[in-house]
Structure formats: structure tokens, C-alpha cells
């Protein structure tokens, strides 16, 4: 009856099988994911891009902020924030489900899969979603004329990088959570909310008093936005700062994943 007998070996790079399951899971919400990917940018662009943008160009002129139109100015920030949001959703909910709601991680872990494989697979799944969201978002930005500089496309990989680094940190964070109500409150009110408001998303960070600029400094969104503005329209930053931005996100990514891999394993084998 069997085609061949099961080999009973430990599969190499187990995370890809977890990724396969995550993609199947996401496909059940395919249209929701697509709708969010489309509506999110549309709402932002219509309300803030056009609304606030018009206000700005009426008052300051078409070279509104930083020597470019307001849409061009906010495009890299919007892209990065959508990447961060997408990565976070696709990391936090599966992790809560895996450890607590449906306990699916415990099922995965009774196969050769390890905690690190499972964490890695969830992370990769979130990256698939992030790439999709950023892809859709950038097409819409393009249609709105917000990707008009020759190097605009560079904002795409930068945004994905930001999603990856924030996703990694949230994966680590979520893997410690036992009380999700409190977790969602903390994340929503004290992390994500302030991050969008204080990361130089809608106006240059240095407009803010120095004390509040601190939020930008610890926010991957600000680092990605600065890089994105530099790459897309030549926003002036020093070479050293380019290094700092890249390094900051790289450290978040690596440290986040490392902690997540360890904590997944620990929590699964308690």
C-alpha cells in the first residue's frame, strides 16, 4: 500500500515545512490579506497623502518637505510601516495560536521539528506576507505618482528589511507571552502607536523636541524611513548614519531571531 517506507530521518532545514504549513494557513485568509494590502495604502494615500499633502503644497509650495512633494516624502515611510505591520500580524497571531490557543506548536514539536525550526518557519511565513504587502503597496504608490524618482524601487527592499527586523523582535516578544490581553494592549498602545507617530513618518523627526526624538531612534521605522528617503530621493544623511541605520535593523533582526529560537525551544520543552 505504501509507496515507499518512511525514512525516519531528520529533514534538513525543517523550517521550510513549517513555512509550507503557514502558507496553507494564510491561504485560508488569502482575500483578507489581499484586501488589507490594498485598502491600507489607499486609505493612507487618500487621507494623509492627498489631504495633508494638499495642505502642505498650498502653504509651502510643491517642493513641500525636504525638497520633494509630500507624497514622495512619505512614500518610503508608508512602505516601511506596512511591512512592519504585516510582519507583526503574521508573527504575533500564529505565535499566540501555536503556544496557547490551538497549541499547534506542540504538535509540530512532536515531529523532528525543533523550536528553532518552528520559530524560523513562522518568521519566514511572516516574510512572505510582508513581501506581498509591500509589493501591492508599492504598485499603488506608483499609481499615485509617489514612486517618481529613478531610485524609488530601493524603498521596497528597505521596507522588507524593516519588516524583517521588527518581525524578529516581535517573534521573540510574543514567544514569552502568556497573557495575550495585556500583550496586545502593550503592543498596540505603547509600541506600535508611538512608533508610527514618532518615527518621522509624516514630518522630519528633527521637527520634534529632542526628548521625543528618542522614540525615533529606537524605532526600526525611523531607521528604515531615513534610509528609504536617502535611497529614493537623496535625502541628505551622512555615510556614518547610513551605517547606523543598517546596523540597527540588522542587530534587531539577528538578536530577535536568536532570542526567539531559544525561547521557542525552551517553552516547548518545559
Amino acid at each position: 500500500m505504501s509507496v515507499t517506507r518512511s525514512e525516519r530521518k531528520v529533514p534538513k532545514f525543517g523550517a521550510r515545512y513549517i513555512l509550507e504549513a503557514r502558507i496553507r494557513g494564510m491561504m485560508k485568509f488569502f482575500w483578507v490579506i489581499v484586501a488589507v494590502a490594498i485598502l491600507n495604502p489607499l486609505l493612507y494615500l487618500i487621507s494623509i497623502g492627498l489631504g495633508v499633502g494638499t495642505l502642505i503644497s498650498n502653504n509651502i509650495g510643491p517642493q513641500g518637505i525636504d525638497g520633494v512633494s509630500y507624497l514622495t516624502f512619505i512614500a518610503p515611510a508608508l512602505l516601511a510601516s506596512s511591512a512592519i505591520q504585516g510582519a507583526m500580524d503574521e508573527v504575533v497571531f500564529p505565535t499566540m495560536d501555536g503556544f496557547k490557543w490551538g497549541k499547534v506548536f506542540f504538535g509540530m514539536n512532536s515531529t523532528p521539528q525543533t523550536g528553532a525550526d518552528i520559530a524560523g518557519g513562522v518568521f519566514l511565513g511572516a516574510m512572505v506576507r510582508t513581501v506581498l504587502s509591500v509589493g501591492v503597496y508599492s504598485v499603488i504608490l506608483y499609481l499615485f505618482g509617489a514612486m517618481d524618482s529613478p531610485h524609488s524601487y530601493l524603498a521596497v527592499p528597505i521596507a522588507i528589511f524593516a519588516g524583517a527586523s521588527f518581525g524578529a523582535v516581535m517573534l521573540a516578544f510574543a514567544s514569552y507571552v502568556h497573557n495575550e490581553d495585556m500583550f496586545f494592549t502593550i503592543v498596540g498602545r505603547f509600541i506600535v502607536g508611538p512608533m508610527f507617530l514618532f518615527s518621522g513618518t509624516f514630518y522630519p523627526l528633527d521637527t520634534l523636541p529632542i526628548a521625543l526624538q528618542f522614540f525615533g531612534w529606537i524605532s526600526p521605522l525611523w531607521h528604515a524611513t531615513e534610509l528609504g528617503r536617502y535611497a529614493t530621493y537623496g535625502h541628505s544623511i551622512s555615510g556614518a548614519m547610513i551605517g547606523v541605520h543598517i546596523l540597527f535593523m540588522a542587530v534587531m533582526l539577528v538578536v530577535g531571531l536568536k532570542i526567539a529560537f531559544r525561547q521557542f525551544q525552551k517553552r516547548l520543552t518545559k
Binding site: S2, R8, K9, Y17, R24, G25, T111
Partner: protein, 308 residues
């Protein structure tokens, strides 16, 4: 002669200060069917999870298939099929998708898994539910799917933690039948159950646990022989009178257990005990003479009855 697939020495597991498993020793041979009995909280699931390489022990030595689960967990798990006490199916996916992805976690080729799905669905009696999301299944159906899922990788050792809880009698007999056949094929079984008939039917050897320790170990027949008499007389005088009647009957038998609803009198000749009771002028409302079972062993060892 026969090899030990599982060897456990001095196994201890603590959760904080609480000792869930307290220095136990046992071994399981290839193709053996080994059962864990014990009241709630005895440490059965904890022990099973350590053997299944999904929980870290606090101390002691464990070897599964010649490997240490702490060091070679994935290598061990590649040979195991596990039915956890609590189902952990993926509720968003369909029945067949759950079987499929689980096989994938073992790195099995798609073709191989697909060739097995029909058989597993038939075994789980879920052919009609093939494309239904798991969240829409009944509790017993989920249980059956979890059991079928554990077989997708053709395991060498099958670890079943209360597999038949929630199953109807027919499903339970189908499972017993399947487990018998697997055993004949040389698969080693580890089973916990609260059903004594199941333990007697399925297990070559049993271990009775309580409060993290092993109370007794042996074949069902040997345990009955060692810890109980050949026969048991059950008498009922009505729940208010059982306790007051008990002292008078103490001398008539080897051992007596007074339960809320009945008195159990242990003797190799239960009929004779009943005659003496009646001769003494006491007439129980009902009486029953039966052979000793694992139930009696369990009651003796843990002081708890399983039939409430």
C-alpha cells in the same frame, strides 16, 4: 535476548519545587505494549512527554532507541508517533491537510503522504469529512484524526496518552483492532489510559503510578495475582448502611474496601463469603460475585476507585 527500546533510570521531573515524577525506573522492550495507569496528576503524561523528547527532565537517565532525548530529540522523534492527551490539530486547515502537513513535518515526500491519506481517513472514519475544516469536527472526530495523524510517518514507537478518551465504543474497538495489528507488525506501544478494560486488552505489561512514583509493575494477570484475590464479592446495603455493616464482615475475607455505594470483599472463594454473610442474618440489597480485575489492583494501590 530482546532489546530495550526504552530505558529509564532514576527519572525525576520537577516543575519549580513541585516533584511531578520522582525517581522512577522502567524499561520497554521492542514490540512490547506497555501501559501507564494512575490517578489524575500521577505523572503519566509528564513521563510520556520526556520519553517523546518533548520535555526536559530534571535528572536521571533516559534512553530511547539508544539515544538520549535531551541530545538527539529530533532523531528520536523521527521514529515516534505521538497522540497527546490534548489535541493540537491545526483548526484552520482541513482534515486531509492536517494529515498532509504533519507528514511534511517529518520531511516525507508529498507522494508518499498522499498515498497514505485515504487509508488513514478510512481508519479514522473521516472519509466524508476529508475537506472539512478541523474546527468543524466533533470532539471524538478530532481525537480520531489525532490518532490517524500519529501514524502518517509509520512510527516504530507509538505513544498514546489517553487515546480513547472521548471515543464512542465502536471507534474504540476500531482503534484496539488497529493497535493489535500494529503490534503484530513489531511496533512498540506506550499507552496511558483510565479504562481498565483497555489496559487489560492492550497491554503486555503495566506500570501503576501515583504521586510521581511507581506503585507496581507487571503483566495484568501478574498484577491481579499479586495485589488481589481470585474473586471479589460486591455487596450493597444502601449508601447509608454500607459503612456501618463493614466491621462485621471484616473477618470473613482477606481484605475489605468500603466504597460509598458498595462494599468489596476480597477472597479466593467469594461465594462462601456471601453464604457466611447471609448465615449471619444480614441480607444485602444486591450482591455480585466476580473475578478480580485491574480495577481492584488500582483501588488497592492508589486507594482510589476509577468508577465514580
Amino acid at each position: 535476548m530482546s532489546e530495550n527500546l526504552i530505558e529509564v533510570r532514576g527519572l525525576t521531573k520537577k516543575y519549580g519545587d513541585f516533584v511531578a515524577v520522582n525517581g522512577i525506573d522502567f524499561h520497554v522492550q521492542k514490540s512490547e505494549s506497555f501501559g501507564f495507569l494512575g490517578p489524575n496528576g500521577a505523572g503519566k503524561s509528564t513521563t510520556m512527554r520526556i520519553i517523546a523528547a518533548t520535555s526536559q527532565r530534571t535528572s536521571g537517565e533516559v534512553s530511547v532507541l539508544g539515544k538520549d532525548p535531551e541530545i538527539q530529540g529530533p532523531q528520536i522523534r523521527a521514529h515516534l508517533g505521538v497522540v497527546p492527551q490534548q489535541d493540537n490539530l491545526d483548526a484552520q486547515l482541513t482534515v486531509s491537510e492536517n494529515l498532509y502537513i504533519y507528514g511534511r513535518y517529518f520531511g516525507l515526500p508529498s507522494k508518499f503522504i498522499k498515498s497514505k491519506i485515504n487509508d488513514l481517513l478510512e481508519f479514522a472514519q473521516l472519509e466524508e469529512k476529508r475537506d472539512v475544516k478541523v474546527e468543524a469536527l466533533s470532539g471524538g472526530m478530532k481525537r480520531r484524526l489525532t490518532i490517524a495523524r500519529s501514524l502518517v510517518s509509520e512510527p516504530d514507537i507509538l505513544i498514546l496518552d489517553e487515546p480513547t478518551t472521548g471515543l464512542d465504543p465502536q471507534a474504540r474497538h476500531i482503534l484496539w483492532d488497529r493497535l493489535f495489528r500494529l503490534k503484530e507488525d513489531g511496533i512498540t506501544l506506550l499507552i496511558t489510559t483510565h479504562y481498565m478494560d483497555e489496559a487489560e486488552q492492550l497491554c503486555d505489561r503495566l506500570m501503576v503510578m501515583d504521586k510521581g512514583s511507581i506503585m507496581a509493575e507487571g503483566s495484568p494477570a501478574a498484577l491481579i495475582k499479586k495485589y488481589s484475590t481470585k474473586e471479589v464479592l460486591e455487596v450493597r446495603f444502601g449508601s447509608d448502611r454500607n459503612a456501618e455493616m463493614a466491621p462485621a464482615m471484616q473477618q470473613l475475607c482477606e481484605r475489605i474496601e468500603v466504597l460509598p455505594d458498595r462494599i468489596l470483599l476480597y477472597s479466593d472463594d467469594a461465594e462462601a463469603v456471601l453464604e457466611s454473610i447471609v448465615a449471619g442474618g444480614n441480607h444485602p440489597n444486591t450482591s455480585l460475585v466476580r473475578r478480580s480485575s485491574l480495577e481492584d489492583v488500582f483501588l488497592r494501590l492508589t486507594g482510589r476507585s476509577l468508577i465514580e
